[in-house]
Symmetry: C2
Subunit: 485 residues, 2 copies
């Protein structure tokens, strides 16, 4: 019987959320946006890899801060993904994250193949994608590190390029060919990029890979021994039952390095499959053009927009009306707490705006006014001296921790669903239009025993209204609780 | 003893609020904006005319929809302005409104002079303004219709021009001169405007006038007999104690005509005083440049703006952060429910946006999310199916009508001040952090017995949440109430 090489898709989902600000945030990265389809990018990615492997094989490489959000996104595969989350304590670029995933795959099957894909790219052409994965898998079995090469459609200076070695054909399937890599080229200047586009022998490095877990571990050991050593140490610590904190500290001590520069460009085993599918990393607002639907004037228009005579612009409206007149090649993005206006050509500089907001410790770089929680979400409607108003949603079956606040009282008015309230020793249900007052320092809990999402309006009063004024006594989601006497 | 000619300033305050959308609205016109100073334009105008006449002489020509707002603006002169409001039932351009004011002045003093000024212009140079009024008053006593001419600073095609007759000097004072008008020129094309600027003998028609009330009434009778007839009829009706509705119908039947084209351009008595003060009608976002403070890059920046390398642009942020990159000669205006982005050169077309919103019956053309009321204000924080959340403020001593709603219940949570609540037969006070539930169909009233503004959060629940679901039983502000059995 022939050996089988099962495929484990690894979705790289640890994005920083700066390029699509203000729609993306540090805690709400690009993969959570609906771009080029009805599903979010990470949902699209999940659906894409399911053409190649069962959901139980999928691994999600992310971090603790984003894990809850991503679980929410992939709720349809909740059971299959139970053990599929690999959490980095802190981002260390792609090489360490991939090493961690490779070890997980080896643990499941020493012959396992990995299909590494970023969570936030757009791919059009599912069949072509699957065909490319199939050919790449054949090469991967032969211990190649396979990357997918994208045919350039513009002289892009933001990507690395790959030149295949035409004389070293490694395999083929239909029209697809796999070659050894002749060379990797770092992001070129404009002149070089134009040459590459014209030459037709260079491909964009898409950041997607297929390889055997065993091969990438070997190659990491060869070219990034420090990472390999750290991984060995982490494995030992796990066996001896060390605390998460100790293990995380080892990971944190790794020097960040990308799989491209750290391994692929060093390795003699690099291969490339020039692919047929269409691809975009939607790396900035300017690149939305490649994947979003445009009107006759070439505008991408989303939401309540009133426009006069604009062309080739991107206008995104959330809840407000956005009026635009005579814009050309511009980006306008309007969200509940932040608005961006810039020429498309300057869209890369959005990162600088995010950096400034971060320096200012402005909340707008970090998260949206609507914040996702394991039990639902909350949206700050207004805040001012001594008060804060929120709309809180609780998912069916969800409940907040049993908690109290030392410095604020709260009023809850139900506007949808039936809310179950614990207040001190009482437990009671509130219908739409009913309310409850929760005095300061009183234990309380909000839960949704029904099948419809509960919405309440919460009015907080008190001298201090920070999220950290909370003492938790019980929690369904593993968040730290105060030990009761 | 010499006759005295007391001066009656007439502030024309009936603006339509389209040019500064989204900061101005149909029910929140430009005169309510703080432009070029710490006070609103109408407050600036009031202060300006008080250099020429006592507050008790000031007349405010406006309409019923805006009167409450303007009273609020001019609250410092509440007692003096008691009888100063002249309400048009509907706008009929300037000639009928001025005729109405002239009749009021004649009633107070047959020798009265009028100083007619728009409520929403910016004037810099109070002394020069007062000097111009003084010289103009001397000419007005001699039965001239005096207009103020502004020295052009650009080839403006949006204003009418006035050419003085240099050979007909009517009076002087210091460096100021008053002349007969040689000719009025309608808005010129760009070539003509450039010629006028170069010639130096043409002045912008500022829309400010000084004349005897008796003179303008005579001239209206001569050149606009239909208006004079309507005014005669209105006076008769007032004497016989006719209903407001009957009187208003006579006014509504007048054909709209401006004082410029309808009287000034026809009259042989027109005079002009070229003035020394700086003036701007701030007719659009583009003209804000003339009156607002600019930073080194030539940007007018208001609010929380994060900018990279923009020049000569206007960026207005309200509560949200607005990020701009590389904008040149652009206008960005961000308000709680509407955002505008356009090149300065297209700022005049904002009117077209407002027209579109009006056709769509979109609330954003009409008023802000914060709506002024005689007792305070309310702001819609969020609304959705079956619920609406408002922040309501009640001024010291203010109280809402005694009312009930047929289709909604309400919850009030006090977040500032002490609120007195009437609910059915109960009357009780709520402190900060306390709340009250108002069931559907229950008579209720909210008032502020204290000296601090009361703020409450109101959560409405019900199948219909329109402002018109209200039955009023008692009201302090003369709004219609249901006769109690």
């Amino acid at each position: 019987m022939a050996r089988t090489y099962p495929l484990y898709p690894v979705i790289m989902a640890g994005g920083s959320g700066t390029r699509f600000w203000p729609l993306s945030r540090h805690l709400f990265p690009k993969q959570l946006l609906r771009i080029g389809g009805e599903h979010t990018l990470i949902q699209q990615t999940m659906r894409r890899v399911l053409g190649c492997a069962p959901a139980a094989n999928v691994l999600i490489s992310t971090n603790a801060a984003q894990a809850d959000l991503i679980r929410g996104q992939l709720i349809d595969w909740k059971d299959e993904l139970m053990d599929g989350f690999l959490l980095e304590p802190e981002g260390r670029n792609t090489a360490p994250a991939i090493a961690l995933a490779a070890i997980e795959v080896l643990g499941r099957d020493p012959d396992g193949l990995m299909l590494v894909v970023p969570a936030d790219h757009v791919v059009t052409g599912q069949r072509d994608f699957e065909a490319a994965v199939q050919l790449a898998s054949q090469l991967a079995v032969e211990r190649y590190l396979v990357t997918f090469g994208i045919k350039p459609i513009r002289p892009e200076t933001g990507y690395g390029y790959i030149k295949p070695n035409d004389k070293m054909l490694l395999g083929k399937q239909g029209k697809l060919r796999g070659y050894r890599v002749q060379k990797f080229v770092e992001k070129p200047n404009a002149t070089k990029a134009a040459q590459y586009l014209k030459a037709g022998q260079y491909f964009w490095n898409s950041g997607m890979f297929v390889w055997r877990a065993a091969t990438i571990v070997e190659e990491i050991r060869r070219h990034q021994p420090a990472i390999a050593t750290a991984m060995d140490r982490i494995r030992e610590l796990k066996v001896t039952g060390a605390s998460t904190q100790v293990i995380d500290d080892v990971y944190r001590a790794i020097k960040p390095v990308s799989i491209d520069s750290g391994v692929m460009e060093q390795s003699s085993k690099a291969a490339v499959v020039p692919v047929m599918f269409q691809w975009s990393d939607v790396g900035s607002w300017g690149s939305l053009d490649e994947v979003a639907e445009k009107n006759k004037a070439g505008n991408v228009v989303i939401g309540r927009v009133v426009d006069l005579e604009s062309t080739r612009s991107i206008v995104y409206a959330d809840r407000r009306v956005v009026a635009t007149i005579g814009l050309h090649d511009m980006v306008v993005v309007d969200t509940p707490d932040a608005t961006l206006v810039c020429p498309k050509a300057r869209a890369q500089d959005v990162k600088k705006i995010v950096d400034i907001l971060k320096q200012q410790q402005a909340p707008e770089h970090l998260e949206h006014l609507t914040v996702q929680r394991p039990w639902g979400s909350y949206t700050v409607l207004e805040e001012g001296p001594g008060f804060k108003v929120k709309r809180v949603t609780v998912n069916p079956g969800g409940r907040l921790s049993l908690q109290l606040h030392r410095q604020r009282s709260e009023h809850w008015v139900v506007i949808a669903g039936i809310a179950r309230v614990t207040r001190g020793v009482e437990i009671f249900d509130l219908q739409v239009g009913q309310s409850a007052a929760i005095p300061m320092k009183t234990q309380h809990r909000l839960e949704n025993p029904g099948k419809e999402i509960v919405h309440i309006i919460e009015v907080q009063n008190g001298p201090y209204l920070g999220e950290d004024d909370i003492v938790r006594f019980k929690d369904d989601y593993g968040r730290s609780v105060k030990r009761e006497a």
